[in-house]
Symmetry: C2
Subunit: 484 residues, 2 copies
């Protein structure tokens, strides 16, 4: 699927213009493409394979946690939105409606999230304590008619996600599991994608519409902007009350249950590309790459030698089949062209084999992340591939973690806060907790928002501190940054 435009490399340096770099990386590496309808995207096979890696990793974890997958309808009656007032207000501007159809009395929305349609069913399915906990997840598409500029994966009018919706008899169990799902998101980000995150609680003004509290994992991108990568909402009892969900408790009394909802979307792919990509293209962490190795035979003029090279390359592909290697046998493009393509695609490892290597029973192993080349005896290749893939995974994580840690600036005073913002830092600052003061920060800085109050108590504690902006007593320390 390499057309002429796409096989050209990225023409801008990531450090010089990350927005342009990102757009080129996504399209030229064939991760995604712009759709004919504005604000929509096409996820191409290379990008979808990354999403499948996330799905497989997370789906296993949530099933272990007792969650079952299901599927609820795409279309939601308008009246359902109105049942939970805060929720309705939060989502109404983004809802796409379908044109009236054959006598349906009510307007139908394309789901912007599925709390309302799911909880309507829950109110019929849940009868007694025996039905709890109820843990359901769905993998589906979502439409939110964004009015801001859209950007592939980061803000699109349609995206793919999973949304988990659980119901519990007790607040304690609900809170515990709300945090457990957040922990699973952290594992997706850090263990699979090698993207370090901060776990935190959203401030009141950033809390999900209808939730009691929202938890988040926040990443920090190389251009100095934060990215919300997954959220888990403790919904309290508000939706249950609005939708009439109750259960017969063990005591024989009717009780109102507690709920959570939690979601992670294709936005993750944006985080992945921005965190690890470089001027040559994508860098895919080995744990996520389906095809972890590209084997490139280097051809010369003598066909006989090429036959031997190819035979060896094929043997090697068989030996490494566990890594689903790409064996690039094409003879219509040069070896250098192939190297560029596999680098653009982000394949973690490349093995180059030429006629001399055949003679000497060796091959060149090239790391995508560092570019490091090593001559490896064929006898050692399998072990060396395994070791190097592990090394790439931890190097990528380590590098991104250092960047995150070094990006943090503590600011106790407003001028320090402004200075840190100028340097595109992730600012840890004490805050009074007042929504108006938080809004004032956003206005005065033209865009800095509270990302989260860290779950790490040592970091969130504001004992004896004053609010970084208004000087009143601080209630907590929170991370502030510009954000996608």
């Amino acid at each position: 699927m390499a057309d002429k435009q796409n096989t050209k490399g990225i023409t801008v340096r990531k450090a010089d213009d990350m927005a342009e770099w990102y757009g080129q990386a996504v399209v030229k590496a064939e991760v995604a493409d712009y759709a004919p309808v504005r604000g929509f995207m096409i996820i191409r096979p290379r990008g979808y394979a990354l999403w499948e890696a996330i799905q497989a990793f997370l789906d296993r974890l949530i099933k272990e946690a007792g969650v079952e997958n299901a599927y609820f309808p795409l279309l939601i009656p308008e009246s359902f939105f109105q049942k939970e007032a805060t929720h309705a207000k939060g989502f109404r501007p983004e809802v796409a409606w379908i044109a009236q159809q054959d006598g349906e009395q009510e307007r139908l929305a394309i789901r912007p999230t599925s709390e309302t349609i799911m909880y309507d069913s829950y109110s019929r399915w849940i009868r007694s304590w025996r039905d709890l906990p109820l843990r359901i997840n769905q993998w589906c598409n979502i439409v939110r008619w964004e009015v801001k500029d859209t950007k592939i994966f980061l803000r699109t009018r349609e995206f793919l996600w999973q949304e988990g919706h659980c119901v519990y008899a007790t607040e304690k169990e609900c809170e515990q599991e709300t945090l457990h799902y957040l922990e699973l998101y952290r594992r997706v980000a850090e263990e699979l994608m090698a993207v370090p995150v901060i776990m935190g609680k959203k401030t009141a003004s950033e809390t999900f519409a209808g939730a009691a509290r929202s938890y988040t994992i926040e990443g920090f991108m190389p251009d100095g902007k934060a990215l919300q990568m997954g959220t888990s909402h403790m919904l309290g009892q508000g939706f249950a009350t609005s939708f009439g969900i109750s259960f017969l408790g063990t005591s024989g009394e009717h009780e109102t249950p507690w709920q959570n909802s939690w979601g992670m979307s294709t936005r993750m792919l944006g985080a992945l590309i921005m965190s690890h990509g470089d001027d040559k293209g994508l860098v895919v962490p080995p744990a996520m790459a389906r095809r972890k190795v590209a084997i490139v035979p280097v051809f010369v003029k003598e066909q006989e030698k090429n036959d031997a090279t190819l035979a060896l390359a094929r043997d090697l592909a068989k030996e490494l089949k566990h890594y689903e290697p790409v064996l690039d046998e094409r003879d219509e493009v040069s070896a250098g062209w192939k190297f560029n393509e596999h680098e653009l695609a982000g394949t973690p490892l490349r093995i180059e084999i030429g006629p001399r290597d055949v003679e000497q029973r060796q091959a060149v192993l090239v790391r995508r992340d560092t570019g490091e080349k090593r001559m490896v005896p064929l006898a050692d290749m399998r072990d060396e591939v395994r070791r190097t893939l592990d090394a790439i995974q931890s190097t990528l994580y380590g590098k991104a973690k250092r960047f995150l840690d070094e990006s943090v600036r503590e600011a106790l005073a407003w001028d320090a806060f402004l200075a840190a913002d100028k340097e595109h830092r992730l600012i840890l600052a004490p805050h009074c907790g007042d929504a108006a003061c938080e809004e004032a920060i956003k206005e005065e800085t033209k865009g800095v928002t509270a990302r989260c109050i860290p779950l790490d108590r040592e970091k969130s504690s504001a004992a004896g501190m004053k609010c970084v902006r208004c000087g009143k007593e601080a209630r907590y320390r929170a991370y502030f940054a510009r954000a996608y």
Copy 2:
């Protein structure tokens, strides 16, 4: 999630009223539920797990065939539909449109199928022979605003499916692979679901809108109606021409490629339930069941004995963990109640263990399909479970295959045709191939349609035969039946 209504069994016999039986089985076994919007469905965890089994089986096969997954937008601009005239005409009545949004000039449809939006991209992605074959599939939701009565899984306004869309340099390759995907559908139906099918070609009037020819797998349900279970369309070059897809051939000339599209949907779950279910509920073939065994400890009054029973049941659950057994430890419902529930759910095998079994180191193994009970020594249990699961799978298939084979009636004359229809048979009859004659059959019988011309040449051959209705020379023999 067992509420009072659902734990009651099915109140009608399958043989007496299959439509009512089906509706009850689906809802009471918690496979699916009616949605608040008419014609839509909620796929509950038990049903979705069956869909996941189909996805896992088929996804592996198509990846082996070189197909890659991707994702294209939900919304399609109106002008795209108009590019391929036959296609547009075929789908227009079923399209749901979204209400006008912020200055988009064109009406947007919710996808009823994705040929048009995918091929628009293909026209940009495909440049030369190097880009072919291009094989892309997507798993997604589809909306078709059915005006006929809807029925869960069989005809719903939204359903889940996969749609594969491939492009080839040559007609031969395209035709071969079109048939290969049909063969994969046959394997899903027969090997995984134990539902035998007939592979055939649709007649001209039943061909997919815009295709050169359509291939199908047709099942035959116990109530004497056929069910189209998956189709693979050889599209020819029509869409490629309409969408401007061309490629630079090896000769240096621009050529028009050949395309196919193929789809299989959640309708499969309807076939599964109707084919194997019985008066007690679902019967899930072992190959499809995630949890293949239910272990039910039978409690008595003496707690000490129950402790021993439970300990043994837990040991057994560990030993059988490969089959992901359900260990039903509930003590608030009777053993009989549990048996009924697991039968309703269709769990292939049940193991009952009581105090006497503990003493005698044995347990009762009960087959869901036949109801057969056997006392099995614990030492033999693992082997016996494996053997019995295999036996259930082949018994289910064998029984359904016998039903299919015995349902076929050959009819050479119109009165024989009508008689066979009265007996709800699958009629194999010679036909002239004329669309008007085919339409007349449908009108005169009030609903009998040509299901397919069998791929089996011995069956399709009409040498020397006359059309069953008009008496003109027959072009082929086809299967005719009423259908879902």
